[in-house]
């Protein structure tokens, strides 16, 4: 252990930190607005979570999701926010890849690309 200055986490790490910070704030705001609309629309009636009814917005039905967001449907706004949260993880890996492009670090660039491809494939299936 040495008594040196505080380690610099690096420009790209700071960029990922900022991206996560502001991304999370924006997404929380979107979901909170959606939840407020959802609660107001429910009129306080309880919702049944004990019985599973498959009615997901599904990535294959993005058109209906955006239509719901435009119509200010609380549930659609929430799901939109949640999808942004998934997108934030992709952005984190993409920004990491940028660090390795700058550093001409081919091994980690390939690793980032493989993970990014896995993420996109996982979302597409």
């Amino acid at each position: 252990m040495s008594e040196e200055k505080k380690p610099d986490p690096g420009g790209s790490q700071r960029l990922i930190a900022r991206l996560s910070y502001f991304g999370v704030l924006a997404i929380a705001l979107v979901v909170a607005i959606g939840e407020a609309i959802n609660l107001a629309a429910s009129g306080g009636a309880p919702e049944d979570f004990a019985t599973f009814v498959p009615r997901g917005f599904g990535l294959t039905r993005l058109g209906s999701l955006f239509a719901g967001v435009r119509a200010l449907s609380g549930k659609a706004v929430i799901v939109f926010g949640l999808l942004l949260l998934v997108g934030l993880q992709i952005a984190k890996v993409g920004t990491s890849a940028r660090l390795f492009v700058r550093g001409k670090d081919r091994f980690y660039l390939v690793a980032s690309a493989v993970i990014l491809a896995g993420l996109i494939a996982g979302l597409a299936t």
């Binding site: 505080k6 380690p7 979901v31 429910s42 979570f49 498959p54 549930k75 949640l82 980690y108 996982g122």
Partner: protein, 278 residues
């Protein structure tokens, strides 16, 4: 219970999940799934959907603080994530060939043993032995500030750690659970990384793993908007607080929290295994 009251209670539970998730590097799902199923009678599929949202929220909210402090090691995270992805693909392929109850039982015993082993490890003793040559070549060594001084660290047994991550990915592919615990254990116990580095790096990785599986949960309708919204907001707030606590807390205390949560997770899995066999 009205939806508004239910939302408030779930917010509080999710706060606790986010707090523990970011402190331990396990994500919030460890708390969310059993709480929703056992306390509120929520259907397991909706609970699983809420759990993946809790993990995504915990990972995202804790990341800024951990990254600013230099606790997240991106190189280690990306290297190990490759192993986890390979394992997850393997798990999906062999899912129908493997007896799930037996896997749960073995995993439960590993977790219970690890919880005891983690407690024995104490604080942040410096590991003996030479750093792993491949890890050195790949530039995985790093440093971070602890108690006002700079502490350097290097990676031991990268091959063994990656092997555990392949198993973690395999388990994720088979069961959809448990990869956070194995990630922390691999980095902490095998690769001999400082506990805070293991936790923060796992926090980064679990978000990526959860995102890879999220599409399936959305597409099958497991993510209920009314349930996921308070889970997400509560987990975000809890993880934000947890990340700030972790930076200041002594490693010994964090290990105790980790060991207790992992032991409970192990007991839960053992119960699931016994129920599956019976």
């Amino acid at each position: 219970m009205s939806l508004a009251w239910f939302t408030l209670v779930v917010l509080a539970v999710a706060f606790l999940a986010g707090l523990l998730g970011s402190l331990t590097g396990l994500g919030g799902g460890v708390v969310i799934t059993p709480a929703l199923v056992l306390l509120f009678g929520v259907n397991f599929r909706y609970a699983a959907g809420a759990s993946i949202i809790a993990v995504l929220a915990t990972s995202s909210a804790a990341a800024p603080r951990f990254m600013r402090e230099g606790l997240t090691n991106l190189r280690i995270a990306l290297f190990l994530e490759l192993g986890a992805v390979a394992g997850a693909i393997g798990g999906a392929i062999v899912a129908s060939l493997i007896p799930i109850a037996a896997i749960l039982g073995i995993f439960a015993i590993v977790l219970l043993y690890s919880a005891i082993d983690s407690l024995k490890a104490g604080g942040n003793a410096r590991p003996s032995g030479a750093p792993d040559p491949l890890a050195e070549r790949l530039g995985m060594a790093g440093s971070f500030e602890e108690n006002g001084a700079l502490r350097s660290y290097s990676v031991r047994r990268l091959g063994a750690g990656t092997g555990v991550l392949v198993v973690a990915g395999l388990l994720s592919g088979l069961l959809g659970i448990g990869s956070g615990a194995l990630k922390v254990l691999a980095m902490d116990r095998l690769m001999k990384l400082p506990y805070k580095i293991s936790t923060a790096t796992s926090n980064f990785m679990i978000g990526i793993t959860a995102a890879a599986g999220a599409g399936v949960y959305f597409d099958r309708g497991y993510v209920s908007a009314s349930l996921a919204a308070p889970v997400m907001i509560g987990s975000l707030a809890g993880a934000y607080v947890g990340a700030n606590v972790l930076v200041r807390a002594p490693s010994r205390s964090l290990r105790i929290v980790f060991a207790v949560v992992v032991a409970l997770l192990g007991c839960d899995m053992l119960y699931g295994a016994i129920r599956g066999i019976a």
